[in-house]
Structure formats: structure tokens, C-alpha cells
């Protein structure tokens, strides 16, 4: 496994504010990396530094094995990006927008341009959009067009900031399928989002940012691994407590957390004693619980200092 993106003690200071405060990211080849954090936690600033838009105050960035921003000219054509929503020239059609974007940088002959543009449009489901100007597109169509722009170069790494913003549920599913398919084809995906559900369904690795610090970075499977307890649902919690004698860790309504990682054995025990069981599962923390435990309150919240 080679690292596609590495940052070492990356810092960005805006005046006295440390927007990004010593981040060490590692994104491996083939990952679908979920970069989580509340609004204002420094996600976008980090993404912008990685792409060379914002210059870091200190620290190092290695993108596809080369130092950024110095190697931007060589490296960025191999990276597709969607940063803080799509942006296009409203008076031109989607096709023309992509063609202009493609022509503004090196690499990729103009001979194959119209074919590549058509392919990218097909990939995101805009193949038949025709000549109407982008200003008449819906929010979801613009989002798709932005994604098409990121795919134009068949990138090795996709850096996506809130890619499903403005899409309807069908659109979200469709884009998720597309990203997973690209990932199976070898594309590494770096997904920045505050939508936990989206990240949980899509990502293999997760990094959590809180007020400019990376408070957590691990495999999703490890983070949400079984805790060794079992969740039991029963309309008669008191009886469960009596039967399992001391193994019940907590009770909330009809939901009990029971020590022991063998639901079948627990079930046999309860049913044998005639206790009704309506639900049974291994206890795993949801990503939401993991993130909330790692990160503090929302940085949007500004409390008065007393």
C-alpha cells in the first residue's frame, strides 16, 4: 500500500486563528477516506491546502508522492476535485464549460477532448443534457456537472467536498454507486463531509477533525467494531435482569446492554427461562457515537466567556 496523500504537522493560521492546527493525515491508495468534521472545523482549509489553493503556514503536504504546492503542475492533473460546491460559467452549456476547463491546463490532447467530455457527462448522468446554458440547471444538475469536471481527467485521486449536496435521495444513491464503482476501478476517494450517514455507508477509513485538530483517524471497521456486549430488546427488562444476574450493563426502556459477545447463547438462556425477546444484536458503536465522543461541541456555537 502506498500513501496517496500525507500531511505532516500541517498548520494554517489566519491572523491569530489557527484554522488548521498540526494535522497528520494519511490516505492510502484504494481508500475511500471520510474526512469528517463540523462546519468550521478546518476541513475546507485543509482540502484547499492539499490542492495548493491556500498556502500552509507550516508543515508538509505530499500528494501522490510529491511535495505540494511545488509539484502542483505535475500532480494536480492526476487529481480530480470538487471544492465547496460546483462553479461554472452560467451563460455557457455544460459541455462547453467542461471543454473550457479541460483546455485550461496541460495534458490531454484536444483531439480527444470532446470524447472525454462526453464520457464524463455520461458517467454522471448528464449525457443528454444538450445545449442549454448552465444557469438553467437545477442544483442537482450543477452538482453532477461539477463531479463530471472532477472526473474529466480520469484521476487517480478524487478530492470531493460535500459531493451529494443538493442532490435528491435517488441522486445521492446514484453518486454513491458511481464513487464505489470508481473506487473498485482503483481510484482513491477523499471525501470531506459532515453527513455521518453518508460517510458510514461509503468510507473505509475515517478521519475526524475538531477545531483544526485531527482527533481520530482509523479504519471504519475498527472504530465501529463490536464492543463485546449484546443489545437485547425485551418488553420485560426486569425479568431479563433477574435471569442474566449481574451481566446487564444498562437499561433504557426495553433496550438492555448485556455483557457477552454471543447473542445466540444469551437468547437461549432468556428463552429457556421464558423471557420474551423481541430483538437481539451485537453491540457496536455507530459512527455518530464515535465522532461525538472524539469531537467536542459544534464550533458554530460561540458561547460567552464568563
Amino acid at each position: 500500500m502506498t500513501a496517496v496523500l500525507v500531511t505532516r504537522s500541517l498548520v494554517k493560521r489566519f491572523g491569530r486563528l489557527r484554522a488548521v492546527d498540526g494535522i497528520d493525515l494519511t490516505v492510502e491508495e484504494g481508500d475511500v477516506y471520510g474526512f469528517l468534521g463540523a462546519n468550521g472545523s478546518g476541513k475546507t482549509t485543509t482540502v484547499r491546502m492539499v490542492l495548493g489553493l491556500v498556502l500552509a503556514t507550516s508543515g508538509e503536504i505530499e500528494l501522490l508522492g510529491e511535495r505540494m504546492p511545488r509539484a502542483g503542475r505535475r500532480v494536480l492533473p492526476r487529481v480530480g476535485a470538487l471544492i465547496e460546491g460546483p462553479a461554472h460559467y452560467g451563460h455557457l452549456s455544460g459541455r462547453e464549460n467542461l471543454s473550457l476547463l479541460d483546455a485550461s491546463g496541460r495534458g490531454g490532447s484536444w483531439r480527444t477532448r470532446s470524447r472525454r467530455v462526453a464520457e464524463a457527462l455520461d458517467q454522471v448522468g448528464l449525457g443528454g443534457v444538450g445545449r442549454r446554458p448552465v444557469k438553467n440547471y437545477s442544483l442537482g444538475m450543477r452538482q453532477r456537472l461539477g463531479l463530471a469536471g472532477a472526473l474529466l481527467r480520469r484521476p487517480e485521486l478524487l478530492v470531493l467536498d460535500e459531493p451529494t449536496n443538493g442532490l435528491d435521495p435517488q441522486g445521492i444513491t446514484e453518486i454513491r454507486e458511481l464513487l464505489l464503482e470508481l473506487n473498485r476501478g482503483g481510484t482513491t476517494v477523499f471525501l470531506s463531509s459532515h453527513l455521518l450517514a453518508e460517510v458510514e455507508q461509503l468510507c473505509t477509513r475515517v478521519g475526524v477533525l475538531d477545531r483544526g485538530r485531527l482527533v481520530l483517524q482509523d479504519q471504519l471497521a475498527t472504530l465501529t467494531a463490536p464492543t463485546g456486549s449484546t443489545v437485547v430488546h425485551s418488553p420485560d427488562p426486569a425479568q431479563v435482569r433477574a435471569v442474566l444476574d449481574g451481566r446487564v450493563l444498562s437499561v433504557t426502556g426495553d433496550r438492555l446492554i448485556v455483557r457477552g459477545d454471543d447473542p445466540a447463547a444469551i437468547n437461549a438462556l432468556l428463552v429457556g427461562a421464558g423471557v420474551p425477546v423481541t430483538g437481539l444484536a451485537l453491540d457496536r458503536p455507530s459512527l455518530e457515537e464515535v465522532v461525538l465522543a472524539a469531537a467536542g461541541s459544534s464550533p458554530d456555537r460561540v458561547d460567552a466567556i464568563r
Binding site: L53, A81, H88, G90, L100, L101
Partner: protein
């Protein structure tokens, strides 16, 4: 990249609307002159206007003189001010830079596109002025009189008109340099345009003030009307050369500042 920028600029309806509006004023002036036959007396009003009733081939120059003090600089400031800040405001700048277009390359392409706009605009105004002048007024193919009173051959007038167009284009390049520099400072195209216009208004204002005479030779608008000197016989080069040198210094310094700022700035738009 340059072709991309030119395509963007000249496929924009706004570019052509600006040029059309710019041509409207000289046309209105020409129509009024024909209807009333009241030309300003020599030495009054915009240069060359007094002469056009007698010789319509001078109208391109009169048209340029009409738009030069205000309309043309506004148009140039709008386009140049929009060049970087407009992309920033629309959000397309971040996609261009991550494409990657290269910051220096993008700035150079923007500059060339603005120069192309200046040139096209000046040429269109001159061309429309010629068409209007030769259809509405008496055209004298035999030549004309210079400002100094000697007569000029048609070839002379043609050549000197071209020189004037070039000189005006250089003067407008100075405006463009101001607007482009401000355009790299702000994410608001309106702010960049207004900044450049504020400089021009301040310059024109100071120029009329006697107390400002020590700095008058360095004001960016000081030598704008020196293109009239191409029509003296012999050509009076003094102010023209000074004007070119002054614009050269302004353009050089401002473009350097724009480059230094743009290549080191955080793009947060």
C-alpha cells in the same frame, strides 16, 4: 490558455453589449450634428469634432475623442476588473487553479485577453466612426488639414489615425493594469472596477488643480489626449513619447504587483 480566455471573453454577451453601448454615443453625436449642423467651434468640445462637418473621414478620431475621457476607461475597467475577481466571485477560479492552470499563466492569459478587448473596442469604435462619418458627412478623399493648418494626404491621415489608435490602446492598457491589479486584491469585480475608476477620477481631478502641478506629469491620465499631436505637422512627439513612457512604467509596476500578489495569495473564494 490564451485561446481559452479569449473564447470566454468574446463568447460573453456582456463584452459585445459593452462595445455596442460604447458605439452608441458617437453615433448619437453624429446624428445630432447632421440634424442641427451645429459643430462646436474649433478648439472647443472634443478634439476633431469641429472639423467633421467638413470632412467625415476625421470622424473615427472624433468618435475616439468622445469616448476616451469616460466611456472607454469605464468599459476597460469593467472588463479588466472582472478578469480575476469575476472568476473568484463565480467560484470558477478554484477550479481553474486546481486544473491546474498555473497562476502566472492564468494572469498572463487574462492580461492578453484584456489587451485584445482594448484593441477590438478601439478598432470597432474607429471603424463605426468611419462608417458613420463617411455616410453622414461629406467625405473628402483628397485629404484634410492638420491641426497646424497644413494639408495632409489621405495616406497621411490613414497612417496617423492608426498611430492614434495604437496610442489610445496603450493609454487604456494603463487603465487595464490598474483594474487587473485591484482584481487580484479583491473577490469583488465591482470593487476592482470602482478602484480603477477612482484612480482615474482622482487623476483627472488633480490634473485640473494648479496646486497639484508638481505631480501632474505623473498622473496616469495626463497624456491621454496627446494623440491629437499626431495630427500636427510635423508630429509633435514630446507628449506622445512621455505618455508612452508613463503608461509603460504604470503598466510594468502594476502588473508586477498583480503578479506578486496573485501568485502568493490564499484563494479562499
Amino acid at each position: 490558455m490564451i485561446i481559452v480566455e479569449l473564447r470566454k471573453m468574446f463568447r460573453r454577451p456582456r463584452t459585445w453589449a459593452t462595445i455596442a453601448v460604447l458605439n452608441a454615443l458617437p453615433i448619437v453625436v453624429a446624428v445630432l450634428l447632421v440634424l442641427t449642423d451645429l459643430a462646436p467651434r474649433p478648439g472647443e468640445g472634443p478634439p476633431f469634432l469641429s472639423a467633421v462637418l467638413r470632412n467625415g473621414t476625421l470622424y473615427p478620431l472624433a468618435a475616439l475623442a468622445i469616448v476616451l475621457p469616460l466611456f472607454l476607461p469605464i468599459a476597460v475597467a469593467v472588463v479588466a476588473g472582472d478578469s480575476v475577481a469575476g472568476e473568484a466571485q463565480a467560484g470558477t477560479l478554484r477550479y481553474l487553479l486546481t486544473r491546474p492552470a498555473g497562476r502566472t499563466r492564468l494572469l498572463v492569459a487574462k492580461l492578453i485577453a484584456v489587451m485584445a478587448f482594448v484593441l477590438v473596442t478601439v478598432l470597432v469604435v474607429a471603424a463605426v466612426g468611419y462608417v458613420v462619418g463617411t455616410t453622414l458627412f461629406d467625405a473628402q478623399p483628397i485629404g484634410g488639414t492638420s491641426v497646424s493648418g497644413t494639408s495632409l494626404t489621405p495616406a497621411d491621415i490613414g497612417g496617423r489615425t492608426l498611430l492614434s489608435i495604437g496610442y489610445i490602446a496603450v493609454s487604456m492598457l494603463g487603465v487595464a493594469a490598474f483594474a487587473l491589479f485591484f482584481s487580484t486584491l479583491t473577490d469583488s469585480p465591482l470593487g476592482a472596477t470602482m478602484g480603477a475608476l477612482a484612480v482615474l477620477v482622482a487623476s483627472s481631478l488633480l490634473f485640473t488643480l494648479d496646486a497639484a502641478s508638481p505631480i501632474a506629469p505623473y498622473l496616469p491620465t495626463r497624456y491621454w489626449l496627446a494623440f491629437v499631436d499626431f495630427f500636427r505637422d510635423p508630429i509633435l512627439w514630446r507628449d506622445i513619447v512621455r505618455g508612452l513612457a508613463l503608461q509603460g512604467v504604470y503598466v510594468g509596476v502594476l502588473l508586477l504587483a498583480a503578479w506578486a500578489n496573485f501568485t502568493t495569495k490564499d484563494v479562499t473564494s
